[in-house]
Structures are given as structure tokens and as C-alpha cells.
């Protein structure tokens, strides 16, 4: 019982916090994948841009909360411009071109940030300070805030996709863009806005995580592989699946660390992925036959 409360529960909480944050990052990735069939390599860089845009806004206004609104909007705008100028011409081509294009975009974004802000690492101070005694340890309030914020955001996104006309349109576009076009919907605009939304979501994740994970130009490239794993496990294009998979990965990493070396944890997660891809390639919740 002591073991459960003193060891397992804190570990579960660590995993939950990390998993929820990862879910925010993976969600935008999976929507873009479902919509465009492209694994967006630049998603990690949009996440990074969010953190840097946050630094810029905090520098001017000294308010994290303002940054939390302004930074995702700014990055969303960058995303929209990127989509219109570079991705739109590629929709009729093989997905491979989109993949390589986003690889190039990632390099450009990363280097641009390095030129503007320098390569040094930076911190953003958490807007919520202090800690709460919890499960025999002191738990930082910001992590609890992060858990709450991610949960509310995920819920809001779920409501958006199920209850609003815009959300249903996006889901319809994920299912069958041609059909939507036939129904007279301006599909390119749906694509652009969805890409911008996904970019804004990545930026939001970047800024929310910045006080814990710190900020530097490579922060995105280090997260993107993990985000890919989440998207695959959850089933590509499945939003609910991504969230579940993110929590599974967060919890697995945190719990396995108790009993295993880090390298075994990494291999265990890869092994899980291989089994999933072979036995059930559509992931936990993916639709059968999607891009198989």
C-alpha cells in the first residue's frame, strides 16, 4: 500500500502530465495527416515557434497570459501563409513530395529562429508558482495547471469537432475531400484554416510546455519522433486515438522508468509500435483501410 501511494501514484501523475501535453502536440499532427495525407515534419518547428513567439510577447507585455493568446494566433498565421504558398501546389501530387517539403520547411524555420533569437537556451518563468503537498511529495502547481489546461483544451477541441459546423466540415474533409467539394464547400479554405489551426495548437503546446521543458531551436525536432509514434499508435487521422495513445506513452515511459534502464524503455516502446503496426496497423482507433 505504501508502495502504491509513495511510488506508483506519483509516477502515474508524472506520466499523465507528460501524456496530456504530448496529446496537444499530436492532435494537430494527426488532423493534418488525416486531411492532407502528409506527415508534417515541420510540426515540431511550429511547436518551437510557439515558444519563441511567447518569449517575444512576454518580452513586450510581461504577461504570460497575453502570450498564450497572441503566440498561437501569430503561429497560426504563419501556418496559413505556409499552407497557401507551399503545400497547396502539392495537393495533387504524391504524398512523398509533401513529406520532403515539410522536412525542408522544418530546416528553414529552425535556422530562422536561430538567426533571430540565437542558439542559446532560454527559460520562460511559469505564470503559476508554488507547489502543493500531494502524495507525500510537493507537486509543482504549474504541472497541475498544465494537466488541467490540457484537459480543458482537449475537451474544447472535442466539442468543436462534434458540435460546431466548422468542426464537422473539417471532419468531413478528412473523410472525403472530393465529396465535400462536390457539395460546394470551399475545400482549399477548409484546408488552409485547418492547417492554421493545427499550427496554432502546436504553438500553444510549445508555449504551455516551455516553463518545464525550456526553449531552444532544436526543441521541436526532439519531440517530433515521439509525436509521430503517438499518431501511429492512436491510428493515423484519429483524434481520440491520438489522445489515448499520448496518455499510454506518457504513462508507459513514466512507469517503465521505475523498473528498467532507459534504453530498455525505448526498445519496449518501439517493440510495442512494431507489434501494433503489424497486427493492427490502423492503431488503436484508426479506421480500417485508411492509406493502407
Amino acid at each position: 500500500m505504501d508502495y502504491l501511494v509513495a511510488v506508483l501514484l506519483p509516477q502515474l501523475l508524472h506520466g499523465l502530465v507528460f501524456g496530456a501535453a504530448l496529446g496537444l502536440l499530436a492532435l494537430g499532427l494527426t488532423v493534418i495527416f488525416g486531411l492532407l495525407g502528409v506527415m508534417n515534419f515541420a510540426h515540431g518547428e511550429l511547436y518551437m515557434l510557439g515558444a519563441y513567439a511567447g518569449i517575444a510577447v512576454v518580452g513586450v507585455t510581461h504577461s504570460f497570459w497575453t502570450a498564450l493568446i497572441v503566440a498561437p494566433l501569430a503561429v497560426g498565421a504563419i501556418g496559413a501563409v505556409t499552407e497557401v504558398t507551399t503545400l497547396r501546389p502539392l495537393y495533387r501530387r504524391e504524398p512523398l513530395y509533401g513529406l520532403i517539403l515539410t522536412f525542408g520547411l522544418a530546416l528553414v524555420f529552425r535556422e530562422a529562429v536561430r538567426q533571430i533569437w540565437g542558439g542559446d537556451m532560454r527559460r520562460i518563468l511559469p505564470p503559476v508558482t508554488g507547489s502543493t503537498p500531494l502524495l507525500g511529495m510537493v507537486y509543482p502547481n504549474y504541472r497541475l495547471f498544465l494537466l488541467a489546461a490540457s484537459s480543458i483544451l482537449l475537451l474544447a477541441i472535442w466539442l468543436f469537432f462534434t458540435k460546431t459546423r466548422a468542426g464537422i466540415l473539417v471532419r468531413a474533409a478528412v473523410q472525403d475531400a472530393e465529396m465535400l467539394d462536390g457539395l460546394g464547400v470551399n475545400v482549399p479554405r477548409v484546408f488552409t484554416l485547418t492547417f492554421a489551426g493545427s499550427a496554432a495548437l502546436a504553438a500553444l503546446a510549445g508555449l504551455l510546455l516551455a516553463p518545464i521543458f525550456t526553449v531552444y531551436p532544436q526543441m521541436g525536432v526532439e519531440m517530433i519522433l515521439l509525436a509521430f509514434i503517438v499518431v501511429i499508435l492512436g491510428g493515423m487521422g484519429s483524434m481520440g486515438g491520438s489522445v489515448v495513445a499520448a496518455l499510454v506513452i506518457g504513462l508507459a515511459q513514466s512507469l517503465l522508468t521505475l523498473w528498467m534502464n532507459p534504453q530498455r524503455v525505448a526498445i519496449a516502446i518501439f517493440a510495442l509500435m512494431i507489434v501494433v503496426l503489424i497486427v493492427r496497423p490502423r492503431g488503436f482507433f484508426g479506421r480500417e483501410g485508411v492509406l493502407e
Binding site: 509513495a6 511510488v7 506519483p10 509516477q11 508524472h14 506520466g15 502530465v17 507528460f18 536561430r114 542558439g119 542559446d120 537556451m121 532560454r122 527559460r123 511559469p126 507547489s131 511529495m137 510537493v138 507537486y139 509543482p140 504549474y142 504541472r143 516553463p211 518545464i212 521543458f213 525550456t214 531552444y216 532544436q218 526543441m219 526532439e222 519531440m223 515511459q253 513514466s254 522508468t257 521505475l258 534502464n261 532507459p262 534504453q263 525505448a266
Partner: protein, 405 residues
């Protein structure tokens, strides 16, 4: 097969371009030296200061007429912190630019790979930043010299102070790749030799985002001292997270010299308060040599110097050895290095040990106060350097197992 003709045309055009882009044949009376390090990526802070240290030494030497009547020119290259590009760039510096001295690299893996290049092409090689224990032991070669205290030297210096002044029960937390493993191993060996108790060890992978899953194990083993062997962004993230969990106040913290560089401390002053680090240099050390060096450095580059700027001494030692050998011949210069002392290094008089080409560096233990590394104790180089172990395995018989008391 028209595409092949075209392909070849493109290839020839490229070759011509490459040739045209190649630096012109050097003027007579110019000697080139190479600076190889991480200029882009998570360790670029270390590489930047290494370059500045080299540049400053060269400027000062040139003002006094250069070396052996030659004006010195620096060629800087980025190794992307990986062995393969490091080797290619080292070859470029040696074979193309004909450098007579190569300073670098930043990461241990890259430095080890470059050592094979400098050995093969007989080039004087100074390492001023990376600290794995294999460089002056199993991988040692005639042309290799170092003025960076390696992990063994750092562990010897730190362990004694920790056992005497901070506490006997120590938890070792390290970054699980060459540098961290090396520091963790040497520190564990040194600590156990001095009667300290290692109550736990754990390694976290490079670029770990969230360290909190390891915190439970640390808290459970209830150490007096938490020894951390990390570098770069990992250090910053780790300290931020330890602090938010109240652990920087709960335990006494100690770490290796490259844990965080001086210029990073300002942004993380509060979590780092009280942290004990072993360094050979700090801009806040009242030592006259360091102050004079730092003043010149600050005037030139607008910021305080740090340990990576020790590359300054590497150039001084090399220039002195060239003058002594009266030649740029690598064999003669290497021999001239052995046992040589230089008075005006950035930390005062220093000598190179003949046996393993390690500079016997006097170091200080520093404690962070208000974002500044302030000296608290001096460690003589002769006390920490340890025996010369050229050709011997420095980790023979080592085990991570914890001896229960």
C-alpha cells in the same frame, strides 16, 4: 543515356565550382590553425567560446609578431557535434588548409574520432573542452594535448570536497551517453575510494524532456548530496524541474565543470543557488590572471569568458612550443610541448605533464551565489590529476553496482 552525359556535365561544373571556391594559395609567412567545434546545435554555446578563445590568443600573438615570424590565421569549422562531419572537417582543415594546430572538438565522441585523423596525418591536436577519460589513456597519441580537466581529474577534485564538507551519502544522476557515463564512473570510483557511499545511480537518455519519473527514486534513497553529470540544455531543464519539485533545496547539489556555463547561470540563478561546481576558470574569481584575462575578453567580445575559452591557452602552448622547436614540424613541436610550462596563460603559470600530455591545472571549487560562480576552495592540479595511464583502460573493473553498507 543522355542523362549520364548531363550528369557528368553537372559533376564537372560542380567540381569546377568547388575548385574555384577553394581558398587561394596561402601567402608566404602565414601559418594556419584550425578551430573545430559545435557551432550549431545544443552545444553551440561551448563551441562559440572555444572559437573566441582561439581568436583572442591569435590576435594577441599576431600583435607581437606572430609565431616564428609567421602571421597566424584561424580557420573555423562546424562539426555538427557528430563524429562523421567532425572527421570530414578535420580532414579539410589538415589536408586542404594545411593547419599546423587543430583545436577541438566539443563533444567527446567527435573529439575521439578526430584524434584518429590527427594521429594519421601527424597534426598537433589540442582539446580544450571535451572530458571523456579515454583521451589521455587508451586513445592517447603523440600529437594530442589537453588543457581540459577530464572526468578523472574532476572526480578526484570534487569527491574529496564532497566527502569532507558536504556529506557522505551521494546519489549519482548522469546523462546516458559518453560524457555523462564517463563522469559518473570516475566520480563513483573516486568517491568510494575516499569512503563516501553511493546510495543510488541512474542514467537518463540524452535530450530527456521530463526528468520527473526519476525523482521518486532519488527521494527514496535519501542522499545528502545529489551529483549531476549533464550538459547543455539537459542541465537547464533538469535544474528547472528539480527546483519546481523543491529538490534543489532539499539536497546539496554538485556537478561537473561543463554542467552549465557561466553565461547560462544568470537565467537560472535561483534553482542553481548553492550548487557546487569544479572549474578551472570563473570570471568571478579574484585571481589576478583570471581577472586580467576576463577584462580583455569582455572588452573584445562584450561578455564574460568561461571554461570553454580555455582554448586560449592551447594556442599559447602551441606557439611557445613552435618557438622552442624553431620549426612547424609536428614531431619536433610535439616533443617541445612535453614538460613545457607557460607563464601567461589565462589562469597563470601552467605546465604540461610529459607522460600523458595533460596540463596540470589548478582548479577551484565554485559555489553559485546569485548566478555567479564564486570560488570556495582551491584544488592543486597535482592533487587531482591522478597517475598517468597511457595505454591502460581507465575503467577496468568498474561496475555500476551499489555496495550496500
Amino acid at each position: 543515356m543522355k542523362r549520364l552525359t548531363w550528369g557528368f556535365t553537372v559533376l564537372v561544373a560542380l567540381a569546377a565550382l568547388v575548385w574555384a571556391g577553394a581558398p587561394a594559395v596561402s601567402q608566404p609567412k602565414v601559418v594556419k590553425i584550425g578551430d573545430l567545434g559545435s557551432k550549431v546545435g545544443v552545444f553551440e554555446g561551448y563551441g562559440k567560446y572555444q572559437t573566441w578563445g582561439v581568436q583572442m590568443a591569435v590576435e594577441e600573438l599576431n600583435a607581437k609578431g606572430g609565431v616564428l615570424g609567421h602571421k597566424i590565421e584561424v580557420v573555423s569549422e562546424d562539426d555538427e557535434t557528430k563524429p562523421a562531419p567532425a572527421v570530414r572537417k578535420a580532414e579539410k582543415l589538415i589536408l586542404q588548409d594545411d593547419v599546423k594546430l587543430l583545436v577541438g572538438a566539443v563533444s567527446s565522441g567527435a573529439t575521439l574520432a578526430v584524434m584518429d585523423v590527427t594521429k594519421k596525418h601527424k597534426t598537433i591536436h589540442w582539446n580544450s573542452v571535451s572530458c571523456a577519460e579515454f583521451m589521455r589513456t587508451t586513445k592517447f597519441h603523440k600529437y594530442y594535448f589537453s588543457n581540459q580537466p577530464d572526468s578523472r581529474m574532476q572526480a578526484n577534485g570534487l569527491a574529496k570536497y564532497i566527502v569532507d564538507k558536504m556529506g557522505k551519502k551521494v546519489y549519482i544522476f548522469y546523462t546516458d551517453y559518453a560524457m555523462g557515463q564517463s563522469d559518473g564512473r570516475q566520480f563513483k570510483t573516486a568517491l568510494e575510494k575516499l569512503g563516501g557511499e553511493v546510495v543510488g545511480v541512474a542514467g537518463a537518455p540524452l535530450d530527456t524532456k521530463d526528468f520527473s519519473p526519476w525523482f521518486g527514486a532519488i527521494n527514496q534513497s535519501n542522499p545528502d548530496v545529489l551529483f549531476v553529470a549533464f550538459a547543455g540544455t539537459d542541465s537547464l531543464r533538469l535544474m528547472t524541474q528539480l527546483h519546481s519539485f523543491g529538490m534543489t533545496k532539499k539536497y546539496k547539489m554538485a556537478g561537473i565543470d561543463c554542467f552549465l556555463l557561466q553565461q547560462d547561470l544568470a537565467s537560472i540563478a535561483e534553482p542553481m543557488e548553492g550548487f557546487v561546481q569544479l572549474n578551472h576558470f570563473s570570471p568571478y574569481n579574484p585571481d589576478a590572471n583570471m581577472q586580467a584575462y576576463n577584462a580583455r575578453f569582455k572588452k573584445k567580445f562584450g561578455t564574460d569568458a568561461n571554461i570553454a575559452a580555455g582554448s586560449y591557452d592551447a594556442v599559447l602552448f602551441w606557439a611557445a612550443a613552435v618557438e622552442k622547436a624553431k620549426s612547424f614540424d609536428p614531431d619536433k613541436v610535439a616533443e617541445a610541448h612535453e614538460g613545457m610550462c607557460v607563464d601567461n596563460t589565462h589562469i597563470g603559470r601552467q605546465c604540461i605533464r610529459k607522460e600523458d600530455h595533460q596540463v596540470v591545472m589548478d582548479m577551484h571549487l565554485y559555489q553559485v551565489k546569485g548566478g555567479k560562480n564564486l570560488p570556495i576552495a582551491r584544488i592543486a592540479g597535482s592533487d587531482s590529476i591522478g597517475e598517468a595511464m597511457v595505454g591502460k583502460d581507465p575503467v577496468e573493473g568498474f561496475t555500476w553496482e551499489i555496495k550496500k553498507k
